[in-house]
Subunit: 195 residues, 2 copies
């Protein structure tokens, strides 16, 4: 019987090897979650109690800027992990908001379960190191783009990195990710099609 | 005889426990480095060949923005690690620049040595997971501050986080870290002293 472990287990297998007992421990720490479109998994000020793995669906994470505007940070889709690491690790209020853009199916792991997992199956240290490494690369790239890249280049990299996102996410959210107005995004897209 | 391992070994001990053989492997993967004030460890476009642990000294990492201005990202001091993770991991050109602000003593670990270390002493997966986790928290915070916090608050958090930095780093570099002009930084500092 398929309990929906196939995607997340494939993720694990790309990083580490486990024996049968270890697979069982792994499956036991996971909790299944569902979130409806427009529902929030996390809001600024709340404690992030879970890290989420996206089985199916699309989310967005965003900050609120000084004026209360939403600034999109990432669009986690299938096979991504999402959460507010600082809030999750230190159990302090989150700065991040996470909202579902589509009805989404998730695996969730709590802090207690994650600590237990590391204790009982140290190989997961490697998997989560690689996972965090990928996140760090993403946030580092996001910071670099925010500081150093012109909007056209940011859009080009965005399309290369997330080819499916423009079909799944409204334009104004992509504009917010890129730090530009929706009008300017349309202009870049028109130029891109001509070029 | 002290080969200068005491600080970095204390760092290791805060994360993991090792036996005598494992300590030897650890010491063998480390290379000693020195860098003079104003020398660069890494420039944009180069491949980042090492991760650096600061024994003594102070560095700064920065990006060049669209107009070629330097935007400071971090001021690694004693007991910090620094490097360009994406460049180091994937051996692609770095986006980051790293310059010494003081004559600095370093431990360096190459990618080959790090891989060998993980193979021979898997406990280091945990240490580097925790290290990356701290870096991710730092970059995430940096991105949030860049997007969402007013300059006064960014300055206040900066002082709390790096109490020794204002004595070690010229004002204009701190202003560049905060994304404001040196004049505006002076104004904030004067206001802070009155308040």
């Amino acid at each position: 019987m398929d309990y929906g472990f196939s995607e997340i287990d494939a993720y694990v297998k790309r990083c580490i090897s486990l024996n049968e007992d270890e697979w069982e421990i792994w499956h036991n720490v996971l909790e299944r979650g569902m979130v409806k479109r427009k529902e929030h998994l996390l809001r600024e000020g709340e404690i992030c109690r879970y890290e989420y793995y996206v089985i199916k669906g699309c989310l967005r994470s965003y900050y609120l800027d000084e004026k209360g505007n939403e600034v999109n940070i990432m669009f986690p889709v299938e096979d991504w992990w999402v959460g507010d690491l600082i809030s999750f690790t230190d159990q302090v209020p989150s700065q991040l908001n996470i909202e579902a853009m589509e009805d989404s199916e998730l695996w969730m792991i709590s802090r207690e379960h994650k600590e237990m997992l590391f204790e009982r199956v140290p190989a997961f240290e490697r998997m989560f190191r690689l996972m965090i490494q990928r996140s760090l690369a993403g946030v580092q790239q996001r910071l670099y783009a925010t500081i150093a890249q012109p909007a056209e280049l940011r859009y080009q990299h965005f399309i290369e990195k997330y080819p499916s996102i423009p079909l799944r996410i409204p334009q104004h959210h992509i504009a917010s990710y890129l730090g530009i107005t929706p009008e300017f995004l349309s202009k870049i897209r028109r130029k891109g099609r001509k070029g």
